[in-house]
């Protein structure tokens, strides 16, 4: 018998490789640091230095913050965005960390303490960031240092996004988790054949920047998505609703952007968009015999605002205005043409209208519109062609009148060659009734990315 027992022992001699249990201590509780500074104070330190870079040397000082970025979907990479409070935050900051992924340890809402000693704050891509000093800028914190520098609290807070309007964006709100309500992606990228993905268009380099507009106010902003994100190839949602995300700046610090953590941050469950009415007559095959209105701008005075011939030239916001101009060589005008830009305008918002005189449609069996456009560095500025049948002709009521989109008219696109002029197509107006006004509405602002130029010529309305 003993023999068998010995044998049994030999055969059961353990090799520990199987049936491992889930380790019990997943979260190691660490002591809360004593000296805690606020994120606002860190930003204050940075604001006081002239060279724009500040290295912390005081020992044992920490900042506390709540993680509001989530790299699970790949739209954040090697950075933690922290804000000071879970609700009504007042200051946010980015910590650059050379670790990927971070969401497996520092999840959304997790309270953390960051040791400041040895870290450096400066402005990177327009926002205040922390990292390790690398000459005049900062580099990410090396992976092996993260446990030394980042202490996890047990607290995982529910982050209540800060509800704001696009028009309220300001530097102080950068790196905060915000929510925009009643917004939608611009119809040119969200609807129709040119519906775009978040960030997988051939023209997207590093980030896909998508125009988001508010239904409440005139605000427009950019939802910026990394071309490395998991959802880059998803099509933009078509409805309207709310977007939440981290308010930040684009790479070149030219404009505000919203970075979402995942597509779930967009709730466009409202299928109703807030697009204005549309002209739906389509294109006509032939023009009418009678010219009801036309202007080739040859009678306008160069470098003066467009005037006369029934035009209403109106600045809704900012200082940019439609004016007549000539140009030679590659980017030539066609004799005298009209143009608008917001270059060097310093405008935070440039909105300008050029409106034709009214055309009475009721007496006509047919009415068509044709015009030509060209652009130069249009970038994210925009030109729209609108119509109204209820405007009374008074400039003061322009913004309260109902303006619909002349959707079949072709307007030059940013990727069109800047030297060429493009015809709008023969736009049929005959399905509308009453008096109609046609407006050319420009959106831009003084920043490099939005200060593009649009040129207009040979506006012609015919009837029969």
């Amino acid at each position: 018998m003993k023999k068998y027992i010995a044998l049994l022992l030999i055969f059961s001699s353990c090799v520990h490789d199987d049936n491992f249990k889930v380790p019990e201590v997943i979260f190691e509780k660490q002591p809360k640091p004593v000296n805690i500074a606020s994120i606002t104070a860190v930003k204050g330190n940075l604001a006081q230095v002239e060279d724009g870079i500040f290295t912390f040397s005081d020992p044992d000082i920490f900042i506390e913050g709540y993680v509001i970025s989530n790299d699970e979907a790949g739209n954040f990479f090697e950075e933690l965005v922290l804000q000071d409070k879970p609700t009504n935050p007042t200051a946010g900051i980015v910590l650059q960390v050379d670790v990927n992924p971070l969401f497996t340890k520092y999840e959304f809402g997790r309270k953390v303490y960051i040791k400041l000693e040895g870290l450096t704050a400066t402005i990177v891509n327009g926002t205040v960031q922390l990292g390790v000093r690398d000459n005049g800028t900062i580099a990410p914190l090396q992976a092996s240092l993260i446990d030394e520098y980042i202490t996890r609290s047990e607290e995982v807070a529910e982050i209540i996004p800060l509800e704001i309007e696009i028009t309220e964006f300001s530097d102080d709100l950068e790196n905060l988790f915000i929510q925009l309500k009643n917004v939608q992606f611009n119809r040119k990228i969200a609807l129709g054949e040119n519906r775009k993905t978040f960030a997988s268009e051939a023209t997207d380099a590093f980030d896909g920047e998508r125009l988001l507009e508010s239904c409440n106010s005139r605000g427009r902003t950019i939802v910026s998505t990394s071309t490395y994100s998991n959802f880059r190839a998803m099509l933009l949602p078509q409805g309207s609703g709310s977007v939440q995300g981290v308010l930040s700046r684009d790479f070149y610090d030219e404009f505000f952007v919203v970075n979402i953590n995942s597509p779930a941050d967009i709730d466009f469950s409202n299928e109703q968009r807030c697009d204005t009415e549309r002209l739906t007559c389509g294109l006509a095959t032939t023009a009418g015999d009678t010219i009801l209105f036309q202007d080739d701008f040859e009678d306008q005075k160069k470098n003066k605002p467009v005037s006369g011939n029934g035009w209403t030239n109106f600045i809704e916001s900012g200082s940019s205005e439609w004016e007549a101009y000539t140009a030679e060589s590659a980017n030539a005008s066609q004799g005298i043409s009209a143009k608008i830009d917001s270059y060097s305008s310093d405008d935070t918002n440039s909105i300008a209208w050029l409106i034709t005189p009214p055309i009475q449609l009721d007496t006509l069996s047919k009415a068509t519109l044709h015009f030509e456009t060209s652009n130069s560095f249009a970038d994210s500025s925009d030109l729209e062609v609108l119509f109204s049948t209820d405007w009374d002709g008074n400039p003061e009521t322009i913004t309260t009148a109902t303006w619909g989109i002349v959707s079949s008219a072709y307007i030059t696109q940013d990727d069109d060659y800047f030297g060429d002029w493009f015809g709008s197509g023969l736009v049929d107006l005959s399905c509308e009734t009453g008096e109609i006004y046609i407006a050319f509405k420009y959106y831009g602002n003084g920043r490099d990315a939005n200060d593009g130029t649009y040129e207009l010529d040979n506006v012609k309305i015919t009837g029969q």
């Binding site: 090799v15 491992f20 979260f27 340890k105 240092l145 993905t197 099509l235």
Partner: protein, 943 residues
Amino acid sequence: MKKFSTVYILLAFSLYCHSQNYTVSGNIVDAITFKPIPEVEVTINSGNYNTYSTADGSFKFETDLKSGPYTLIIQKEGYLTQRLPILLEQKENLYFQTIPLEIDVTNQQMEIGLITLSDDQLNGDDDQADYNISGLLTATKDAFLNAAAYDFSATFFRPRGLDSEDGKILINNIEMNKLYSGRPQWANWGGLNDAQRNRVFTRGISASESTFGDLAGSTNIIMRASQYRKGGRVSYASSNRTYTGRFMASYNTGLDKNGWAFSTLISRRSGNEGYIDGTLYDANSVFISAEKKINEAHSLNLTTFYSANRRGRSTALTDEVYDLKGRKYNPNWGYLNGELRNSRIREIKEPVIMLNHYWSLIDNTTLNTSIAYQFGTTANTRIESGGTRLITTDEQESYVGGARNPAPNYYQNLPSYFLRDVNPTAVDYQNAYLAEEEFRENGQLNWNAMYAANTLATQQGGNSIYALQADVTHDKKFTFNSVFRSKMTENIVLNAGFNYLNLNNENYARLEDLLGGNNFLDIDSFAEDNYLTEGNLAQSDLQNRNRLVQEGDKYKYHYKIKAEDVNAFGQAQFKYSKIDFYVAAKIGYRFYQRTGLYENGYYPGNRSFGKSEPKKIGTFGLKTGATYKISGRQLVDINIANFTKAPGIRNTFSNSRQNNDLASGLSPERTYAIDASYIYRSPFAKLRLTGYYINKQDGNDLSFLYTQSAQGVDDGYAFVQEVVGDIDQINRGLELGGEMQILPTFKLKTAIALGEKFYNNNPQIYYTSDDIDGQLTFGNGKTNLKNYHVAGGPEQAYQIGFEYRDPDYWWVGATFNAFAKAYVDVSNLRRSDAFLLDSDGLPLNQYDDDTAKSLLQQEKLDSYNLINIVGGKSWRIGDYFVGFFATINNVLNTVYKTGGFEDSRISDYRGLLEEKERDTPLFGNRYFMGYGTTYYLNAYVRF
């Protein structure tokens, strides 16, 4: 204790008168047990007279030799050969009442040693071990083969540049080589050493009686109950190589009066880690055989054996990693709950059962028929870090999550990564320093971080991000085999064999461990889905979209391969006094068909689901050879062969996990081989000198790799399948083995291998990937391998050594071994035209020929010397033999690389130039490091 002197014989002379002939007769017995020994070969040194002892140990033959002095040679494998001087004169007949034969303990020990050692190496933990051929070799009287088996195999030296797919392993005539790779799965019979000592080894392409054979020869392991010597054996081995302990016990009844014989063995090999850190070993083996001798004509034998084997694996290292962590470093393990856990475990559980029928039809004619069934699984685990969850927004699906490769030696964790830029900044140096410190101090897998991540994800309603995946192969193999042998005349032996094999092979990934999570989303997190593909590309099975799987579930891929093989061979052997020769031929047919059980998202419809096109391959073979006996001491031996071989399953389907595609241009590999030997044998010295030339044509190969130089695809980043065809390679060289018996107790020995193995053409190459449609080729669709060395151990090996056998039953030997000219395996992609292209697929605009040459230079590994010592002693205590056997390998603890390979990650000119300009490359060559000083000690009791 009774002391045996050299030879003592009880001689009794009887005098008979006989007209013309002498009669020589006698009885042969075991020197210790005095039991008769059957089947002992008895010859008179003139060579023409020989016979075998019968079951009662007696022998008798008549001669018509002239009077004079002769030597009677009495020999049997496992016994010391007896040489009796006899004098034939005056018509006296000779009768030896008792001739005692002593067991050749030394040889037996060496044999044990060999089998044990090769077992040790064959079950090594890296892929190189699979190629090792030493398991094919057996203790022979050939000095070269002994050197190759004992001392050269540790460094993966391959005799004639051949690996285990060039040899055949048979057990009771059943071929054990796998159809998947053509290689034997050594682990299937690991730990059965004591039951595998009866072997019939055929060297090279010479004639075997059980199979047509192959270039490297064949070994038929006889595991028949009646063939084991009656008795038992218990042994324990201790080592620091792969396992740390091995216990083995066996008992054989021998054939009893009723014609029954039984044989059994159990063994256990275990260890928490071997020489390489974290390489656990856990293997239990059992063998049972029963044989019934029904009558003189029929015997029926049942043999079954099962070696269940679990191994922790290691991996090849770059110089950078070796410099920081040493040669024992293994990144695959980490501590979990204070215990060592290896993430890459190989588990092999494939029992074999066979029934053998031995039939003596008429005199000198036998028909041995066997059926065998092997079934079971092979599973390899690894960590999967691409766990995601599904988000549906606006009716569109996206998958978020996934993490980076958690391997501690991932290139982005190493110092070189931080110094990758041309002019590193102060912070880069600081980060490199921090990375180095971290890697030195920790540098192992962080299980806790993975569990923590999964727990966090699960708390938030997500799925596991990390999981342990097993790649499982499940085989059911049926074999029928029949071998016919007939000794037509004294001079002619005919052999014929027929073999039918049917394999049902099933492959899938199995979720092994969710590492603290509850679910895993079965999608491909690397899929490049967009709104047109609607998340379909990511699906492993379109018929079960976005499936959540749990532990034990199959996922990722699931397919079956049906394979059939039919082959037959015939052979005639002629033996005459001056010349022996043989001719043999074979013919074969192979069939493969894949059946996809998952409809892969990248390959919808019957591209992946259902049956593939069948692949049918016909093969043939011819060989012949002759041995010319210049004199009793000098022989010349020549063999010539020309045959084709069907490709393994592995190389037949270009991407079998995902689709039904067959590798295109696949044809059987064609081999031309010739070898010629001069053999000298005398009681004082033995020598063999062989020259060989082998040309293999139409070879094929398949590999999987991730590269950033798939120029023209996605900026070059792609996971690709590399299909190489039309490979033409040449192996040529010389082998020399010699022994000198300086004293009866002291032997000097030497072995030399001078070989070359190189590509003889520029093979065809193409790539497939789920990122591209169809085949991707670069330039002329070839890889410029011509004249590059084919990697695989040193091409040159030298040995000089001695053996001392003390009459007092102890022995010791030592060898000095030198190795040179081992080359790393070259990247095929680097030698294709992808090297010359920019990432957009257009030719590079700056290019320097000399630089290119230096970038593509094949690395020759440093040469090195190893000293090995071996020794043992045995005692007889009553009816028990007690003994031990020990070896110390690499006595001087030499650091050396046994092999290596280039990483195809960066394969283009510009990328390689950047790599060369770095102090430490990001993707340097990876090497298999040789073991330092190791020991092996085996003690046994035999009764």
